[in-house]
């Protein structure tokens, strides 16, 4: 089988159409199971009480926000070096999901912070760098949406994602460094380092639920982009 075949929108479109429901179902099942494990089965944290349960959303969201940007940069490299339209489409299909997860991470972080630290926002290293990551997503989407020519929008977005991903480690390092210079603002959110087995199971389930959700949504969005850009014969063939 030639995997290369799926790099063309015409063969990708029906494939994505078959795959996305699978990932959507996996995401739903894992989310239901993970939330049940996390909210009802996992033991109460002896320091933070019930509030800590927000980690089951917060941590996967933060990871996904970070990870999706790197995946976008990877697709960006493919799009620029091999001039493949599909990689650019996947890159753009992923951006809103990445931004959503980053926003969720910030939002749940704030909700968690209020009862734990008594404030919605602190300039803690991780929250600050997540905020900068959110701004990177905003910049990416703003740029790609303002360019009318799709080809230029794709390539400009790809370059921006690559430049951003090269900068992410520097930004993370600098923010951590900045945080360490201003002692007293450092809080530890992880509480106890020991996690009960039920907590681990819930966390793993939620992480994979987020993965499956991201893949499903990206596939649906990529299909929408193909319908928007490609001539009808590319995506009409599905019925046949």
């Amino acid at each position: 089988m030639n995997l290369y075949r799926y790099a063309s929108p015409a063969s990708f479109y029906p494939l994505a159409g078959r795959l996305w429901p699978v990932f959507a179902v996996i995401a739903a099942l894992l989310a239901v199971y993970g939330l049940y494990e996390g909210l009802f089965v996992a033991p109460t944290d002896f320091q933070q009480g019930e509030v800590y349960r927000i980690v089951f959303i917060h941590v996967p969201a933060a990871w996904m926000g970070m990870f999706i940007y790197l995946v976008m940069a990877f697709y960006g490299v493919l799009a620029l070096s091999f001039n493949t339209r599909l990689s650019a489409m996947m890159m753009r299909a992923l951006a809103p999901t990445g931004m959503l997860f980053t926003f969720l991470a910030l939002w749940t972080g704030a909700l968690w912070g209020k009862p734990t630290w008594g404030t919605y926002w602190i300039w803690d290293g991780r929250m600050t760098s997540t905020l900068v990551l959110f701004f990177l997503y905003v910049g990416f989407i703003a740029l790609t949406e303002s360019i009318d020519d799709e080809r230029r929008a794709d390539r400009a977005g790809a370059l921006l994602a690559i430049v951003g991903s090269v900068n992410i480690p520097i930004i993370y390092f600098s923010v951590t460094w900045w945080n360490s210079l201003h002692q007293g603002l450092t809080f530890s959110k992880s509480g106890g380092s020991k996690m009960a087995p039920d907590m681990v199971i819930a966390m793993v389930a939620m992480v994979f639920a987020c993965w499956a959700y991201s893949i499903a949504v990206a596939l649906v969005r990529a299909r929408a982009i193909i319908r928007e850009r490609e001539p009808a014969h590319v995506w009409n063939g599905e019925a046949a």
Partner: protein, 216 residues
């Protein structure tokens, strides 16, 4: 749509199977042509049929969706250094800095081309293009036709073999057109090549024409 010229595709410059799509519109596809040494190709076609785009594709400014541009049998890459030392592209815009003088502009343009031209040579070329006494004037004070003539002076001093000219006679008066004609014929007499996109009548007879029809 280009069968008439395809037969002659043997010159040093060859374009094969070019396809360019802009947004939903396909400007041209499977476009092939060649230009021989000492030959001029005139690109014709209604507005929006891709004359400028085709020149930009040859120059390497625009990447075609498909097809290639070859020079002496070797296909040019997107960032080909040879391509940039072969092509001289005069675009629709004058490519002049308004705040600098004609002479300064000419020297800067040549410096970018990697040509070291002395003030005297530049002044001489400007004189020859009908800009005597206007060398030190800021370009913003020159008329459209005079700005074109600065471009002509650049052609006169360039040693690049392939000229890609977009509406070179726009805004030129009869005398300017004559100078342009002399320049381009001198260039081809030395074995140079030129592709000219225009909707105006050209002062030379010998040129082949490539007509872009535009696709539905």
């Amino acid at each position: 749509m280009t069968t008439a010229v395809q037969a002659a595709a043997t010159g040093p410059l060859r374009a094969e199977g070019l396809q360019v799509t802009r947004g939903p519109r396909q400007l041209f596809s499977e476009l092939s042509f060649g230009i021989d040494s000492g030959e001029i190709l005139v690109l014709r076609g209604a507005n929006g049929t891709g004359k400028t785009t085709l020149l930009r594709v040859v120059a390497g400014l625009t990447q075609p969706d498909q097809g290639s541009v070859q020079w002496c049998g070797r296909a040019w890459g997107a960032k080909d250094a040879e391509r940039r030392s072969v092509c001289l592209y005069l675009g629709h815009a004058h490519a002049l800095k308004e705040e600098l003088s004609a002479l300064q502009n000419l020297k800067l343009a040549l410096a970018l081309d990697g040509i070291e031209a002395g003030t005297e040579a530049c002044a001489h070329a400007l004189d020859a293009c009908g800009l005597a006494g206007r060398h030190a004037v800021q370009v913003r004070r020159l008329s459209q036709g005079q700005k074109r003539r600065v471009g002509l002076a650049r052609l006169a001093l360039s040693e690049k073999p392939l000229w890609l000219l977009d509406e070179p006679t726009n805004a030129l008066d009869a005398e300017g057109i004559e100078r342009f004609s002399a320049l381009i014929l001198g260039h081809t007499a030395k074995g140079g090549i030129a592709a000219v996109a225009t909707h105006l009548p050209m002062p030379f007879q010998s040129a082949r024409e490539l007509r872009l029809e535009g696709s539905a």
